[in-house]
């Protein structure tokens, strides 16, 4: 499948070196946003141009790539990025979290815990956690430099004053290595605890904003909160309708116009794995499949 018209993994070697230098700097200063000369990619901004550049820079011929979008391996974005690297780098791809060495993700961290030989690459739309409170880039950079993060708590204060609890449900700000406040990209806050002390390397790429940042393996990541309003990961109070998982992050799917809905794991690989292992939820089709199988055999 290796198309000779492209350099390995689409980007030329000089560009990849430039991105790798940014990545090394980002790893050296956990949570710090390193500017880099983001390139135009053959996809629109907002579709993961930052993540794709980071992936292209770290991918080797032996790597096994998994791409997820909102936890799913089979949405348009995930499929097209997977195909993109299959075509331009000829690397093996997979949907199984354990088998992957590089996982590019949009908005989720896989349910299966990551191990030390993996790299998780996040696609980031807006890397600056202080952006909506302080519009000036010069000022936000200064605030990071001087570790002036009172403003971040102003946002959480506003949430509690307005809704009675911290209503920020995604892109929940974290403090990395007790120094930099970081936007974990729009992952649900359910995933925040997974970033803490994670054995895998976590890289964040923002293509439009031209920033790369990183969380090295086994780094402390703390979600910001108040003493009397501690951080709480949010999850719908229901088991997955397909695999009956009680501890996974769920998507709500509206099934009719009469209020009918089902909750299913957003991580498709995790859900399929559980179903294959014999876990069945209330709306699983597996029992019917088995019956149909028996009928056709009999």
């Amino acid at each position: 499948m290796n198309a000779p018209a492209y350099n390995f993994a689409y980007l030329d070697e000089q560009t990849k070196r430039m991105i790798r230098r940014a990545i090394l700097k980002a790893i050296a200063i956990p949570g710090y946003q390193v500017p880099f000369a983001s390139r135009e990619m053959p996809m629109p901004y907002g579709w993961g141009t930052g993540g794709v550049q980071v992936t292209a820079a770290i991918l080797g011929p032996q790597d096994v790539l998994k791409v997820i979008d909102q936890g799913s391996d089979d949405t348009t974005n995930a499929i097209s990025i997977r195909k993109f690297f299959a075509k331009t780098a000829g690397v093996a791809t997979t949907t199984a979290t354990e088998d992957a060495t590089v996982i590019q993700t949009r908005h989720r961290i896989p349910e299966t815990s990551l191990h030390a030989n993996q790299v998780l690459v996040y696609q980031v739309p807006i890397p600056e956690p202080l952006r909506f409170l302080e519009p000036r880039e010069t000022e936000t950079r200064r605030m990071h430099a001087l570790a002036e993060y009172g403003l971040m708590h102003v946002k959480l204060y506003e949430d509690i004053a307005r809704f009675g609890h911290i209503a920020t449900a995604y892109a929940y700000p974290v403090k990395v290595n007790a120094r930099y406040v970081m936007d974990p990209s729009p992952t649900p806050k359910f995933d925040n605890p997974k970033m803490d002390n994670c054995p895998a390397l976590q890289l964040f790429g923002a293509g439009r904003e031209k920033r790369i940042y990183a969380i090295p393996p086994y780094t402390q990541v703390v979600s910001l909160d108040f003493e009397d309003h501690p951080f709480e990961p949010y999850r719908f109070n229901a088991p997955c309708a397909l695999c009956a998982a009680e501890n996974s992050y769920l998507d709500e799917i509206v099934t009719d116009d009469k209020g009918g809905r089902m909750f299913v794991c957003s991580d498709t690989d995790y859900c399929e794995g559980r179903q294959a292992a014999g876990h069945h939820g209330s709306l699983s089709a597996a029992p019917y499949k088995d019956k149909a199988q028996e009928a056709s055999n009999g």
Binding site: L133, R142, L146, E148, G150, L151, H153, V154, Y157, E158, I160, A161, R162, F226, E227, D228, H229
Partner: protein, 265 residues
């Protein structure tokens, strides 16, 4: 008289020594020297373009002076030259030991964020991490500046001009600063609101033993609030003294003109 002795024996809080600032050939501020003592209110008066605002920015470390220096006695009692402070220290000073009340509240407030968070921001910036306590302190301060507690969750956008200015004062005083800079705090407010604001400022200043440097072109404000007055013209201080003395018995022709320009009540 006892107060006077105390002031004389005390160390000055802020000392300006021959401060100058020029923009190219234009000298906005020339050779200004004075000392400010704790609890003292100093008014800087003069017409537009006389260098008042430039001086205020020099004193508060927002502008680098072309000549001279400003030293400030920190909470530990050591006087430090502002120019030698690092940016982090200066910013820390600015949000703890100092306050700055702008003429336009939109500059000093976060207009889209609730009043409670506006007041609480400085507390959170110095590490307060308990929502209940921050909110209690914020509502306490709103009461002190006569803002209805029921408005605590409203954004200052929805406030009237006078309320915004009072909120700005609360936001600045919440960390109990020792020195507050005020740049025309009553500008653009109608007379009755001005009077109420001045009354409030005067009682807070006395209660908290604040030192204030207030820039104004309104001599009535200077008369009401300040202990001492500095009159500026063309970047120079032309006359300085006790407020009553300067305003009732002006020595310089320009001050005489300024005082006589007030409409008789």
């Amino acid at each position: 008289m006892a107060d006077q002795d105390m002031l004389e024996n005390d160390e000055p809080l802020l000392v300006a020594e021959s401060l100058s600032k020029s923009y190219g050939r234009i000298a906005a501020c020339r050779d200004v020297s004075f000392s400010l003592y704790p609890g003292e209110v100093l008014a800087i008066v003069g017409e537009s373009g006389s260098g008042k605002s430039t001086l205020l920015q020099l004193l508060s470390g927002q502008l680098a002076a072309s000549g001279g220096q400003v030293s400030y006695r920190m909470r530990d009692g050591v006087a430090r030259d502002l120019a030698t402070l690092g940016e982090a220290e200066r910013r820390f000073l600015f949000r703890t030991d100092w306050g700055f009340v702008h003429q336009d509240p939109a500059q000093g407030l976060r207009m889209a964020v609730s009043a409670g968070a506006n007041v609480g921001e400085r507390l959170m910036a110095v590490g307060w991490n308990h929502y209940g306590r921050i909110r209690d302190t914020a509502s306490d301060w709103l009461t002190r500046v006569e803002i209805d507690i029921a408005r605590i969750d409203d954004a200052p956008r929805t406030y009237s001009g006078g309320m915004r200015q009072r909120l700005q004062i609360a936001r600045n005083l919440v960390t109990e600063p020792r020195l507050v800079f005020m740049d025309e705090p009553t500008g653009g407010l109608d007379v009755s609101v001005q009077a109420r604001l001045l009354d409030l400022v005067r009682s807070l200043v006395a209660e908290l033993h604040l030192a204030v440097i207030i820039v104004t072109h309104d001599l009535a404000v200077a008369r009401l609030l300040s202990h001492r007055v500095m009159v500026m013209k063309g970047g120079r201080v032309i006359e300085t003294g006790l407020t009553d003395q300067v305003l009732d018995d002006p020595r310089e022709p320009y001050t005489q003109l300024l005082v006589s320009s007030i409409l008789p009540p």
